[in-house]
Amino acid sequence: MMSFLFNRFAISLTLVLAFVLQIIPLPVEFDVFRPDWVLLTLSYWVLAVPHRVNIGVAFICGLGLDLVLGTTLGIHSVATCIVVFILATNYQRLRNYPIWQQSFVVGLLSAFYHLLVFWLQHMISDIYFLFHYLAPTIANVITWFYVFYFLRKVRRTSGVR
């Protein structure tokens, strides 16, 4: 029963876990380097099963991010949708990249994601760009290795296709 549930809802469960990791408190020094867990998890699933996880899931996750992070609704959903679109249109090429190359692509896309979020926020309220807004990018490049191997294990054991 448990394994059936796990297999059925593996993708959703990993996304929920990513959401919790996204908002779990960290010491202030590490907080600026918090990886974008939700974006990384989404990226993995888009590359692995693009027919199941694509723009629709990205949109819902984006709205979820707006809610848990307290931003104006729609900001994160635009950013996640665009990043997921880029991944989903290029998944065949990206899948064949070695993992370190993938991690750079994901890092670059996450920088783009943060710039998009910043830019949309900037249109709504007059915030200024601080360079540490891009700090999660570095963390994303490193975390991608762990996310990739962990989620691949999840995908293989749960048989998500």
Binding site: F19, V20, Q22, P25, G64, L67, G70, T89, Q92
Partner: protein, 280 residues
């Protein structure tokens, strides 16, 4: 569905649809109040995530509370008793002053000031986005929290409630760039507006003329003009005044009275509701 080359064409329309829809939501959410209720339900939907994320910290708190030494509790209790005594003696005079104030206001024909209902809320250790200064507290609609409600800590105004869900709510801090609060200088009743700068330890006051009587160290209290915050709660203290003549207005920065970077317990205020006398 599991084709080798799938959905390359159908992705672009989907993206356009999602982006257009997001932009519509964004505009509606930002510009109007119609999304309030929707947002409330959605926030309620995601609040379990916040409780899960808060759980490890809450557990650590609980453990450290369970394993406090007897000695420490005794000394703390002693200290609290003394503090309480000092506060209640200060309150004795407060009651007298309030009574006197009400009588004076009555003789002037002005309405009496009412103390509102209060409730203590605890900060939930939940992380936020780096662009806004907000905190999540463990009180929500079921406790009667409403949007725009003033939130205080022991030293002054902290901010106002921005979004409410069933059991949690999100408080916008004074320090956020989008937050403004009408104040007056306690010393001479000069009116001003204190705005956030994005830094937790610095607020700014715009549109102060060169001739205005404002000094470093002046206490700024809420003026009650915006109708959101009740009158007379400490907001900030003037920290620096730059009177260089090159600008039309004086640049004034102020430090918030509340300890915005180490919040733990907050007080929610219901300014409208009259408190029954004698009840704390």
């Amino acid at each position: 569905m599991n084709a080798l080359f799938n959905s390359g064409q159908s992705l672009l329309p989907r993206l356009i649809l999602a982006v257009v829809f997001s932009i519509i939501i964004m505009v509606v959410d930002h510009r109007s109040t119609q999304m309030r209720e929707v947002r409330m339900y959605l926030n309620t939907l995601i609040s379990p995530l916040q409780f899960i994320a808060n759980a490890p910290g809450a557990m650590l708190d609980w453990v450290s509370r369970e394993f406090v030494s007897h000695q420490k509790l005794v000394t703390e209790n002693e200290r609290m008793k003394q503090e309480n005594l000092l506060m209640s003696t200060a309150l004795q005079r407060y009651h007298l002053l309030r009574e006197e104030n009400t009588q004076l206001r009555q003789s002037l024909g002005a309405t009496a000031r009412a103390d509102g209902k209060r409730m203590i809320a605890e900060l939930m250790a939940v992380d936020q986005n780096p662009y806004n200064h907000q905190v999540v507290i463990n009180r929500g609609l079921s406790d009667g929290v409403y949007e725009g409600q003033p939130v205080l800590d022991r030293d002054g105004i902290v901010g106002q409630v921005q979004y409410v869900s069933a059991n949690t709510s999100r408080v916008l801090l004074l320090a956020d760039v989008s937050h403004n609060i009408p104040v007056r200088v306690l010393r001479n009743n000069l009116n001003a507006v204190v705005s956030g700068t994005g830094s937790l330890s610095q607020l700014t006051i715009n549109h102060i003329t060169h001739s205005a009587d404002l000094q470093v160290g002046d206490l700024l209290v809420s003026s009650g003009l915006g109708k959101l915050f009740p009158e007379g709660y400490p907001v900030a203290k003037v920290a620096m005044i730059d009177k260089s003549q090159t600008t039309a207005f004086v640049a004034v920065s102020a430090t918030p009275m509340a300890n915005l970077n180490q919040l733990k317990y907050l007080v929610l205020l219901w300014p409208q509701e009259e408190r029954i006398d004698g009840q704390p």
